[in-house]
Symmetry: C3
Subunit: 216 residues, 3 copies
């Protein structure tokens, strides 16, 4: 994605960082944390997935080192969020209606993960896992830190599955001899559409055979 439409990708990436950071900030406010906790959760949510991707693939500089502006932006957002009730209410309302931007962010982070993994020579299934990890790990880390069962482990709208399916669409480019920009666009669209279909229309995985039984 990045090399083909760099300006658009950068705009989507910045939006994705902001939306992820706000989701961390809202979690921090709910847990009545202070500025330090809020900034930490914002950083973890926005940069956790990309950092784990870079560590696993040995890419340096890290995502948030070469994009120093994102860290600075996150800090400014946190200061406003923690000390201005108006900014907080704005961010909170945004978070409630951010599912579309969030889906764009999931798609974009996933695409960076699967692309870098493919570049590093990973075969299909591990590359797809890297894509999913990049798209979802920030949220998992956020939930572990506030001691909630990570959302990815609870029933609800699909998150990892759209990311996983989109990875295979992206990876099918070379196999089907489709030009990569088209495969990328198709993968991106697949992730956003599947995610929104799950949020809006209730698309779900088939339930496990143990569904509905009480926990032992």
């Amino acid at each position: 994605m990045k090399p083909h439409l760099p300006e658009l990708a950068t705009a989507v990436e910045a939006a994705a960082v902001v939306v992820s950071a706000i989701s961390g900030m809202v979690s921090a406010a709910r847990a009545r944390m202070d500025l330090v906790g809020t900034f930490t959760l914002a950083l973890v949510t926005a940069f956790g997935g990309g950092t784990l991707r870079d560590v696993l693939l040995q890419r340096r500089p890290l995502f948030w080192v070469s994009n120093e502006g994102y860290v600075f932006l996150t800090l400014l957002l946190c200061l406003a969020f923690v000390y201005s009730r108006r900014a907080f209410e704005f961010a909170d309302a945004l978070d409630r209606h951010a599912s579309f931007v969030d889906a764009l962010g999931l798609a974009l982070f996933t695409l960076t993960g699967v692309h870098y993994a493919h570049e590093a020579g990973l075969p299909g299934l591990p590359a797809a896992l890297l894509g999913v990890i990049t798209g979802t790990f920030g949220g998992v880390l956020r939930d572990v830190l506030i001691r909630e069962i990570p959302a990815i482990f609870r029933p609800g709208a699909l998150y990892a599955v759209p990311s996983f399916v989109g990875c295979w669409v992206v990876l099918s480019g070379p196999w089907l001899e489709i030009p990569q920009p088209i495969a990328d666009a198709a993968g991106f669209t697949t992730i956003v559409l599947l995610r929104m279909a799950s949020v809006r229309l209730g698309l779900r995985l088939p339930a496990p055979h143990w569904a509905g039984k009480p926990e032992p």
Copy 2:
């Protein structure tokens, strides 16, 4: 171990991956997770220790990248486990009686950790720690993700200790001028025997002086 008896080691490794993955899947089923949570816990349990080992030692490709077949196998196992009650019951029964295979897996993962650490030039105590980390970290991560106190932190059968003792047996090879395959076999056997002695015969560490007092 690996270079000396490659076929046997591969068979034990595959068995160890399957047993670890099943232990993650059973935890996921107990917490009433869906396919995504089950697959994630299976991956984390089976590949967490080896991944941390590879990150700490800067080894690439990662364990689950060069063994793509293990990931694929784990995915198939999860699909069967989540959607077929018969497969679930089989895996659950296996998990209840897997302590011997689990001990083989602990021994094998430990040996890979201590070997790679030794190759990378780590001195004895850090190399032994790497062995223990490789053998135990997957289970720790599984328990943190489902918000349980990791088993390694609860009273019960020894897990880290057999791994630690076995590492020193392996590392004693060069010091005692024993051929390495023999030291490896002795370390492997030590881990399995100590672990089984703890599970079956109740072998334990001496209790801390605070044992038996209620938590404050």
Copy 3:
């Protein structure tokens, strides 16, 4: 710090490792863990921050590999702590009055993080974050493993903020053309003073606008 006053720095570092390890051991005793849990928490608390720093900056050998003596010392301390009531009571009392040594440790670990990050070419804000991560991550990991909300996320005395402010003092050396040893000493002193002012005099960040409201 290290290259300028190596003997003093080594003495402070050893003290910092011991104080961090004891803090992990006391947490383990409170949770009624055994030797394995106690040693694990001690290692995680004392070496977690430096390890994450080394992984993020791709520094090898790891902190606790090139300082094998620290791991050995931690193991001896744990054995004494777990099996000797007298040693336990001594360590517990030390832990209650360790806030000054703890502040020295926070300052020293922070300085290693910001220095190595600066050496690796990181710009200011990411370098300061690396400093804070190095100073605080061990305690975060300790609290996650015993399933407490990490102290850094709870109201109370400042911990991350002194570390962050001190990083900027250190980093201001080159910008203000102050000799680096002086900037280092000023940063070190800033961290210790801010931390002690928070512990003893109640210095706090301004409260968020949501402070005092019950959790939803």
